[in-house]
Symmetry: C2
Subunit: 435 residues, 2 copies
Amino acid sequence: MASHDCIVAYEPATCEFPIQNLPYGVFSTASATSPRVGVAIGDKVLDLAALAAKGLFNGPLLADCATDLFNQPSLNAFMATKPEVWAEARARITELLTAGAGALDEATQAEVLVDMADITSHMPVNVPEYIDFYSSRTHATNVGTLIRGAENALQPNWTAMPIGYHVASTSLTVSPAKIVRPWVQTTSPTDPTAFSFKPEPALDFELEMGAFVGGPANAQGVPLRINEAHERLFGLCLFNDWSARAGQKASYVPLGPSIIGKSFISTISPWIVPFAALEPFAVAAEVLDKPLAPHLRDDNHIVYNVDLSVDIITPGSNGEELPITRSNLTYLTWTHAQQLTNLASTGAPILPGTLLATGTISGPNREQNGCMLEISKLGKDPLVLPTGEERKYIADGDVVVMRGVARGDGYQIGFGETRDVVEAALPPSFWGIEE
Amino acid sequence: MASHDCIVAYEPATCEFPIQNLPYGVFSTASATSPRVGVAIGDKVLDLAALAAKGLFNGPLLADCATDLFNQPSLNAFMATKPEVWAEARARITELLTAGAGALDEATQAEVLVDMADITSHMPVNVPEYIDFYSSRTHATNVGTLIRGAENALQPNWTAMPIGYHVASTSLTVSPAKIVRPWVQTTSPTDPTAFSFKPEPALDFELEMGAFVGGPANAQGVPLRINEAHERLFGLCLFNDWSARAGQKASYVPLGPSIIGKSFISTISPWIVPFAALEPFAVAAEVLDKPLAPHLRDDNHIVYNVDLSVDIITPGSNGEELPITRSNLTYLTWTHAQQLTNLASTGAPILPGTLLATGTISGPNREQNGCMLEISKLGKDPLVLPTGEERKYIADGDVVVMRGVARGDGYQIGFGETRDVVEAALPPSFWGIEE
């Protein structure tokens, strides 16, 4: 579909939000301050609450409930419906935005299309449960090699199941965000029993994507089979899993990295791209050289071809973005459907709005590594930037930008971006510590 | 205060809910099906929503908002206020229940007191974040000794900070509950790289308590100091952290036990006892033989003297409860305030309703151990019950009952109980596996 088929003009070669995308978000404006559901199209946002108020969702599944689903401060109500409802909404939005007899008329357009430059994005989902997986074989191998050597890089359970851990969903926020460097306890390099409390010396990003789960919750005690898991997958966002590496190292044995290393803040892109928009980019996911447990076998073992990038703006770069990482979602080995099936395999109830973060998505080469821990080899090999600045980890004042793009035939699908700035830690006086 | 000082008659020697207790819960009845906030008193429940509707919360902080706080399906709104509001509510409820000029008149009593036998208890809190700590030194030592030997029982970080991990708050439910034995991947005892998918062979309870956090959330990036953490502590419940030991063992390295071992279900008692009711039972908490990091030092280093018990009803016990464990909350080393301070030390925002589970609370002797993993020494030394039945872990059909009691001068404080029954796993056919 060419740009001129859409009632909103855009440049297909560069626009992140063509009519093939239609990602969901939650927004408000200065003149209408209630957060509500919108869809990005070109440089506009389509106000779905306004469409619903006008009765323009007239299909059989949405006619009676569109306002209840879209005049909401989160996507949860819409996510909690079923794929048939998501499909009807997407088809109707496509129809209303496609030039021709079914399109929005100009008067209505003026009421329901908002300039993207004028919106405030809000956290689009009230996340009941957030799991950070560890599902890129390349990433797990890179990290395992650094810690245990190449022979034992992957621990035995890595190839048996998509391992992961819960993180505080209360730490999630929509980007752009300020990342205040946390205080943590760290261990001495020479004495692992000696701890000191200080601003995190090794603040890191992690390049991830997040899959949102929709659909009605399964009952407690009733797992999801993998075909049912596929039906629950709603959409994808970009995900920066900010990490406090020294605090993580000191605290994570044996219960995992969550409370100190991971739960201070993580950020997501403002737009959630429905999996329906990503179907043209589906490719076969990596097959592990090991038989899978029955519940994890999948006739539809797919992942999506999405280019992922990290750029950094430093105090020395004069506002210029310096490339750090170029990776791709196809480095994800355990798929979103396998992650969800494993998560629910015990009978845990999975509520709509649950976020499955992929874990860092890395390729094998340094310029494909998704976090500074890999890039700097545990901080031992600093990255030298074009400005001459060096980075083992992220410095105060740095801005970290993540983007994703699926490249189609004459169009591309984007997610917006995460763009977070790192601020200095609180002073010692906050804690009553003399400097 | 003697029983006859309360307008509800009870036997002080045995009643869990005397006027000194006044625990909060959420309940409904067959004739009034909307869940709302109540307080247990004797064998009655005081309907706080009904009190509010009658304007009986007439103090300066509650007069204008009591209905908004108590005519709610959860305690979150009330918890989100401040300790001054909690104190005003508790003082007013005490006044209304104390025989004398300020007491509820008989006509009003008939409207606002409900027989406890007639209520349905609901999950009393919408929990935004649930952390399972590991804060009983005796328990951590017992488990560490079983796994690594007595010399290395406690890992270095255990004495530096209250370690813990996030678990899915969506898995929390109010007791009584059915515990469906989960399917998990387990490792072979002879080959740690060989996994098989089966019903969990080592289903376990964990005797814990849970501290609920109230008060307004701290801003992202602004930690809580320990005196501020004390101000946020709302109340305590009993907590059974049901655990899938074989699944946990196979999945927990290196990211922790949460998604397979812990997140299928955990249960809490229906009543949350305010810390104000526990003040008479405060005792000095254990002091570790090691200097603390500055943020964890506490001039008010207290824990509460609460006797804790686990009993089991087996298919062979003819309904009789068989004692398994007798422990006490004073085996908690890292206190609730230290747990909360550590959790928030990175600047993580802590929302009202957050649940801090203590981790298993064990004494040193077998009959004081808070889970079967300790009691049976990793399943190697079965417990022989008075019925002649043996238990390494919990069997299908077993009912596990937990209780807590703080013993005062002429009265006692209880929490209700958790009483959960274990059901058989789903059949292999659920997964399409041939038997």
